[in-house]
């Protein structure tokens, strides 16, 4: 959020972000939805520990090993570390605040950058030196030979080609907590991996869209004139093409062999969903550019890029935050619809719902998938409403 700090006053060093956070903490709906979102993210990231075929601990011939850590992909490690660092961020800031305060530097920015640096270094070294193991079906077949094996909650083959047809269409039981599908696939396992798709789409696609919208909107609102006219026309063009059609056509153009289907969808949804952020940021900057502090900053001779980056854009981020929260809900919706229509090939809740639609009597399939979509979309909408009320109830988003 914005790091407009008012340091120095007697007990008045509350940032804008801190004020909004204080408002949010008073709302139970906000706290509950935030908790559910963190839980969903955790479940998505830790999916291999909950459902999968690789044991967590394995003892054979007296030798103890932890196979799952050899199997986790680099991307999974990166996601785990990123999530942990994001959760640690407020804690670190609080710990360092006193010292930073004495030294006269703002806390947030440096801590955030340090975390980002740690994450980038670990990610690069992982990609450069680590090769994850990939031997499907290895441990499940040899489970009898082990002296002790801790399998995930749902010990089930996750090789896409592997199906156990004799277990197909079973109602929920202790072996299959949410039952099995048409081809003997475990529903819980698919829900967990669908959560990964939904979370990736939610965060990355909306992140791409927000970034594009903020940059273009800031330029349009600040410079005005011809820049504004041209950017407005471009935005109108994107608004006037029906969203789904644009996405389908863009999918045929971008679907290259080197890009996994999930990332194709993420990029396409990001590239076609930035117009809301553009409109909000443009409106904010039209207001902000004539504020006194902007005039003062201009009079100080601060270069334009710095003016925009440090003063104008951070002050216009509040509506963007609300819009992005609603945007995540919308993107999850959209991805489910695309998968439901069979337009994308990702492990997704929408695809499961489409499967379940063919055989409604196996209610556990569509009920799990539909419930998961509903829950995710609902908590994001709830959080969006709460943030909007905390920032400014009259905000029209």
């Amino acid at each position: 959020m914005s790091d407009v700090e008012t340091t120095g006053g007697v007990g008045a060093s509350r940032t804008y972000g801190a004020i909004v956070w204080g408002q949010l903490r008073k709302r139970p709906s906000a706290m509950v939805s935030l908790g559910v979102i963190v839980l969903l993210a955790l479940v998505a990231i830790l999916a291999p520990f909950i459902a999968g075929e690789v044991p967590i601990r394995w003892v054979e011939n007296g030798r103890v090993s932890w196979p799952i850590f050899r199997y986790l992909s680099n991307g999974e490690y990166a996601a785990m570390l990123g999530f942990a660092l994001a959760l640690l961020l407020p804690l670190t800031v609080r710990l360092l605040r006193r010292r930073a305060h004495r030294a006269g530097t703002g806390g947030w920015r440096w801590v955030f950058l340090a975390h980002l640096a740690i994450w980038l270094v670990v990610l690069t070294s992982l990609v450069a030196w680590r090769e994850p193991e990939r031997r499907y079906g290895f441990y499940l077949e040899r489970a009898a030979e082990a002296e002790s094996a801790w399998f995930p909650l749902v010990a089930y083959p996750q090789n896409p080609g592997y199906r156990e047809l004799e277990f197909k269409e079973q109602p929920p039981s202790w072996e299959h907590l949410l039952g099995t599908g048409r081809l003997g696939d475990d529903v819980l396992l698919r829900i967990l991996y669908g959560a990964r798709t939904a979370m990736t789409i939610g965060f990355v696609a909306v992140g791409i869209g927000t970034a594009i919208g903020v940059v273009l909107g800031a330029m349009s609102g600040y410079f005005g004139g011809r820049t504004d006219l041209v950017l407005m026309r471009i935005t109108e063009i994107f608004i006037c093409i029906p969203g789904l059609i644009l996405i389908i056509i863009a999918l045929t153009v971008i679907s290259a062999a080197w890009l996994p289907p999930l990332w194709t969808v993420v990029i396409v949804i990001g590239l076609t969903g930035w117009m809301w952020a553009y409109r909000l940021m443009r409106a904010e900057l039209l207001r902000i550019r004539s504020e006194d502090y902007m005039t003062a900053a201009r009079a100080l001779g601060i270069p334009t890029w710095r003016l925009l980056l440090r003063h104008a854009v951070p002050n216009g981020m509040a509506p963007i935050l609300v819009g992005a929260t609603f945007g995540v809900a919308g993107a999850v919706f959209l991805e489910a619809s695309l998968a439901f229509l069979g337009l994308v090939q990702t492990p997704s809740w929408g695809e499961m719902l489409n499967d379940g639609r063919q055989h409604l009597e196996y209610w556990w399939v569509w009920a799990s998938a539909g419930g998961a979509i509903f829950l995710t979309v609902f908590v994001y909408n709830l959080l969006g409403e709460a943030i909007r009320d905390a920032i400014d109830p009259r905000l029209k988003i």
Binding site: P242, I249, L360, I373, F374, V377, E385
Partner: protein, 354 residues
């Protein structure tokens, strides 16, 4: 006002050109060959030489042909040539459009055999537009009383209850709602079999009288319309609530109360009337989006409307249908934006456009 409108309409021209050029270029530049896919789907494997000739003729007719421009190897067309071809093809498409010819569809035909995109859309519009209008009216009729009741007792039980229920409804994906409707109310095999689940008419509908025909139609569209209505409720009810609250705080309401008008008259005659206009404006502005967005409902209930036509065309890369569809949709959206702005100014004389 006149100058303002003229300026708005003039600014539509570059936007419409951009819309058509963008879709045209994307469809043309996408890898793969839609004509080949179509011929294979129709005739299976045929003699390659016959195939090549036929494919070339079809491409020529549909305006999809990539011409060999610098004439070295007629079999190979490089990337730059492709781009030049896109602009050339777009120019040709434009010159045809100016003469009233929108090309022909690769995949679709109307019931009387016409392949021209306008005819195709006109036929489908007869299904999609009435359906959406009925859904819009239903949304309006339900959402306004709800918003009104919530605003009158702000923070009361009904206010909080309706907010959370509406947000919940808003969060139910239409793919789930459609599935549930079919499963429990339609002939999906789970519960009550009250409603049919596909199409718009019974097979014997032709022989029915006018009244029975209408009844049959309503019986068929009840579930799709319910599917379109439930999600839109939340947005409009919330807007109505906020708008009425703002008006109830206004000075003129205090004046009305002070001069001793009854509470009902203050709310319904003064505040409500003023809060209705922003809602109508919003409806006008969102209507085109709803028509384009009913694809999911049309798919679930097998209704052959405009949304399904557009999605089918986009998947088959049926160039002329896609470009015509985006042109029409874009024009309607732009018009709706202008109408919305004008309505806004008409309702509130403080707003002036120069």
């Amino acid at each position: 006002m006149k100058t303002y409108l003229a300026k708005r309409f003039l600014l539509m021209i570059p936007t419409l050109l951009g819309i058509t050029l963008l879709t045209y270029a994307l469809v043309r530049l996408a890898p793969g060959d839609p004509v080949e896919a179509m011929i294979r789907a129709q005739a299976g494997d045929i003699n390659p030489k016959v195939f090549a000739n036929e494919a070339d003729a079809i491409r020529e007719r549909l305006g999809l042909k990539n011409y060999n421009l610098w004439g070295k190897d007629p079999q190979k067309i490089d990337a730059l040539e492709k781009v030049v071809n896109v602009f050339y093809g777009y120019g040709r498409w434009m010159s045809h459009v100016l003469r009233g010819d929108f090309g022909e569809s690769m995949k679709y035909k109307t019931s009387d055999g016409s392949k021209s995109p306008p005819a195709l859309f006109w036929e489908r519009a007869g299904i999609t537009i009435p359906l959406n209008l009925v859904a819009q009216v239903a949304i309006f009729v339900i959402a306004i009383p709800v918003g009104l009741a919530a605003a009158r007792r702000r923070g009361g039980f009904f206010d909080r209850f309706s907010t959370i229920v509406l947000l919940g409804l808003y969060s139910v994906p239409s793919i789930l709602a459609g599935t549930l409707f079919i499963g429990f109310l339609g002939r999906g095999g789970l519960g009550l079999e009250w409603f049919p689940v596909a199409g718009l008419h019974s097979s014997a509908a032709e022989g029915l009288g006018r009244l029975a025909y209408l009844k049959d139609l309503l019986w068929h569209v009840a579930l799709p319309i319910a599917c379109m209505v439930y999600g839109g409720l939340a947005y409009l009810a919330k807007l109505g609530r906020a708008s009425l609250l703002e008006n109830l705080r206004a000075d003129y309401v205090r004046t009305a109360r002070a001069k001793g008008l009854s509470e009902g008259r203050v709310v319904y005659h003064h505040a409500f009337r003023n809060s209705l206009l922003p809602m109508i404006t919003t409806m006008v502005m969102t209507l085109p989006g709803l028509i384009g967005g009913s694809v999911i409902v049309e798919t679930i209930f097998s209704i052959h409307g405009m949304g399904l036509l557009m999605v089918g065309a986009a998947q088959a890369r049926d160039l002329s249908v896609i470009v015509f569809g985006t042109l029409v949709y874009g024009a309607i959206t732009l018009l709706a934006l202008v109408v919305g702005d004008v309505l806004y100014a008409w309702a509130d004389p403080r707003i002036r456009y120069e």
